[in-house]
Amino acid sequence: MRQLTEEETKVVFEKLANYIGRNISLLIDDPSNLHVFRLQKDRVYYVPEKIARLATSVARPNLMSLGTCFGKFTKTGKFKLHITALPYLAQYAKFKIWIKPNGEMPFMYGNHVLKAHVGRMSEEIPEHAGVIVYSMNDTPLGFGVSAKSTNEARNLQPTGIVAFRQADIGEYLREEDTLFA
């Protein structure tokens, strides 16, 4: 376990900025409840500083996870956000899409968000911006990238894709073997 290098921090923050924009500062600059990013193997964890300190007593090969896993670095040095980051992304999200109950299951089986399933969505979502997907009762279900801006999406066919899925909570079941360690 170690802190992120400057390069790594940049990659991670760039990715996060897609979804939460300037709210990143809220993630790291809360003096009453200080959180830090830590790298263990290829994964990035977001943890309260106190817990990160305690975790130093655990040897590297034996440390499986700490705090919340945000994602992992691929072998090519890119950063991939995991569904486990959803609680924080949902908390600080910039752009949101709510889907109707009939669209919940298709989304959680790994499909993109169709126009027919969209209950409502934030105004002024640009094209290809990170969006968080919620159910109508505000339960976060996953996140993705908008396929069209909000205005364009209004004129879309019901079968047209509004947002491309990147991660959804169905992965807790589908990807259990690969998602965690």
């Binding site: 499986m64 700490l66 169905g170």
Partner: protein, 615 residues
């Protein structure tokens, strides 16, 4: 005579059975009343004689059981109470009361008969009568009412049967009231050659249990208790499919009746239960959401505020959007108990030594409202995956997951406020979930597993901070019901670490742990621990003990790892082997001398010269 007696007389039905039957018969009797002749009156007087003494002696027998076997006392009392209550229920029945006069009229005859039937009546009559009836005058009447019910039952039977059979029955009833339950050798051989007839085995098991519960009255003469028990255990292995070793082990934990309940409860799956994740949802909202999805559920019980019991569901309960969003987790009701006993407080540092798959860890985290720090350890790397998945799904942010042999603690890190040790165990409490336990567990397991558990519990105790302002608590739990994995381990910990004491678990349900078991005596404070059985609370078999560490010890700073601890435990086992096992080894040669000496001494005591007898 064997077959006949079985079908005619059989085992005398219990009082309760009689009472159940008495009502339908009642009306019949009233109709036929005028036609009852002298002969039927005779039968009436016969009958109470048969039933009365048995009943009285039964109650006495219960009280004897109490003193003999502590473990059984609860049940004995329960059944006794039950029969008393049933009596009073019957008393409210007007019909019975109306018929008293007839009985009174016949009573004179009865009394005569009592005198003539001395060998059968035996002395129980005098002892039994007073204590049983003295509580309440009404009860005496009730028994009279019962008597009548019995007589009616017999009448009906006789009406159905030929008169010859009646005579035979009466004769046999006097000379041989005891039912023939055990099969003869020939029958056993015949049975073993055929595929087992489960219905007849079941009937026989029930009959043997009845005999064992009232051995003095119901046992055949010349057959020892152990013969009945052996047969019963054999039947259990055939009927339920246990290995003989495990069947014996589990049978010995309970009274025969309770053991049967236990074995039967193991055949039924426990209800599916879920725990609300209070970090993300409230139970009422969750219940409403699930009901809307077509799930039929209700709260588990008053002892938990987060549990829900699922009766049936139109959707897979482990794949609903609420499940994936982490609003609840599938968790056995019994798994709530150790965490409730642990009672973690906010801002503490807690260790879960065997955490996977994370049901208890996430519960701890939820109780601490994501503050403080929870170390979740599991020795099995592949199992940590499901642990991490559950931790993330349920949104626990204060956890550190590590993969150590738990005996490495406190070398890795010590000074915890609370530690939960849900020890790896044989799983005899969750046979309903995992049938393979029935045959896979051998005697060796019940040596090795406790061996590991003992090392783990010492590690747990050493890893706790005795001076923690809020905690200093260790909770030990297993999903096993055997004494070797529970009380024996706790007793061992108390002996080895005098700086801990047992404290009350503060759980609303559960039976007390055994303070003595088959000649072994444990620390009396073990009564503060709690046992759970599938047949009593409809949860998995479970055991929970809660320790408080009252002082630090030199072991707390020991740098011994798992290997060192294993080695020292082995040495210790060799040293203490004799004490840990039930008995010292038998040496038949030495014993022979001792036995002979004793026999001689006894003969001398009787005033006979032993040398003369030998000649």
């Amino acid at each position: 005579m064997g077959r006949r007696a079985k079908s005619k007389q059989g085992l005398p039905p219990t009082l309760d059975e009689f009472q159940n039957k008495s009502h339908p018969v009642e009306s019949k009797r009233k109709r036929t009343e005028p036609s009852i002749t002298n002969s039927s009156a005779k039968k009436v007087k016969k009958d109470p004689n048969e039933q009365k003494p048995q009943k009285h002696s039964k109650t006495i027998d219960h009280s004897k059981d109490e003193s003999d076997i502590e473990d059984e006392s609860d049940i004995a009392i329960e059944t006794e109470k039950k029969s008393l209550f049933d009596d009073s229920d019957d008393g409210s029945d007007e019909d019975d009361v109306q018929d008293f006069e007839e009985i009174d009229a016949e009573e004179g005859l009865e009394d005569d008969d009592l005198g003539s039937n001395d060998e059968y009546m035996d002395s129980d009559e005098e002892d039994g009568d007073k204590p049983f009836f003295s509580d309440d005058d009404d009860i005496e009447n009730l028994n009279a009412a019962n008597m009548e019910a019995l007589s009616k039952k017999l009448e009906e039977e006789e009406a159905e049967e030929a008169e010859e059979a009646q005579k035979e029955l009466l004769e046999e009833g006097i000379t041989q009231p005891k039912a023939h339950v055990l099969p003869s050798k020939e029958e056993e051989e015949e049975e073993s050659s055929k595929p087992p007839d489960l219905t007849s085995i079941r009937t026989r098991m029930i009959e043997i249990v009845k005999v064992l519960e009232n051995f003095k009255e119901l046992a055949e003469e010349g057959i020892s208790r152990s013969e009945y028990v052996n047969r019963l255990i054999k039947d259990i292995t055939i009927y339920f499919g246990y290995s003989e070793f495990l069947a014996t082990l589990l049978f010995e934990l309970f009274s025969p009746g309770e053991a049967m309940e236990f074995f039967e409860a193991n055949e039924i799956a426990r209800p599916i239960t879920i725990r609300t994740n209070t970090l993300k949802a409230r139970r009422r909202d969750l219940a409403q959401a699930l009901v809307n999805r077509g799930v039929n559920l209700q709260p588990i019980g008053p002892w938990t505020k987060v549990g829900l019991q699922v009766f049936d569901s139109q959707v897979p309960i482990g794949a609903t959007p609420e499940y994936l969003a982490g609003h609840y987790i599938l968790q056995a009701a019994s798994s709530f108990l150790p965490v409730m006993a642990l009672d973690p407080q906010e801002n503490e540092r807690v260790l879960d030594m065997a955490a996977a798959p994370g049901g208890k860890t996430t519960y701890i985290s939820a109780l601490m409202k994501n503050t403080g720090c929870v170390f979740a350890n599991d020795a099995n790397k592949s199992r940590t995956k499901s642990l991490i998945a559950n931790i993330h799904r349920l949104g626990c942010k204060n956890t550190i997951v590590c993969n150590y042999d738990a005996r490495e603690f406190p070398k890795v890190i010590g000074g915890f406020d609370r530690i939960l040790l849900d020890a790896p165990c044989s799983g005899t409490g969750v046979i309903a979930k995992d049938e393979s336990v029935k045959i896979s567990r051998t005697e060796k397991d019940f040596v090795q597993i406790p061996h590991l558990q003992k090392q783990l519990i010492l590690s747990a105790i050493d890893s706790v901070d005795a001076h923690s302002p809020t905690g200093g608590i260790i909770v030990y739990s297993t999903c096993s019901v055997t004494v070797a994995e529970n009380e024996a381990v706790v007793d061992y910990a108390l002996r080895k670490r005098p700086n801990v004491k047992l404290v009350s678990t503060d759980l609303q349900i559960g039976k007390e742990g055994f303070t003595s078991y088959r000649g072994k005596h444990f620390n009396p404070s073990i009564s503060l621990t709690r046992r759970y059985y599938p047949h009593t609370y409809n949860v998995d078999g479970f055991y929970v003990a809660k320790f408080k560490k009252i002082a630090s010890s030199p072991h707390d700073v020991s740098k011994a790892g798992a290997k060192e601890k294993e080695a020292s435990a082995r040495e210790e086992a060799i040293e203490e082997g004799i004490i840990n096992d039930d008995f010292a080894e038998f040496n038949s040669d030495d014993d022979k001398e001792l036995i002979e000496k004793t026999i001689k001494r006894n003969i001398k005591k009787k005033g006979i010269n032993p040398k003369v007898i030998n000649k």
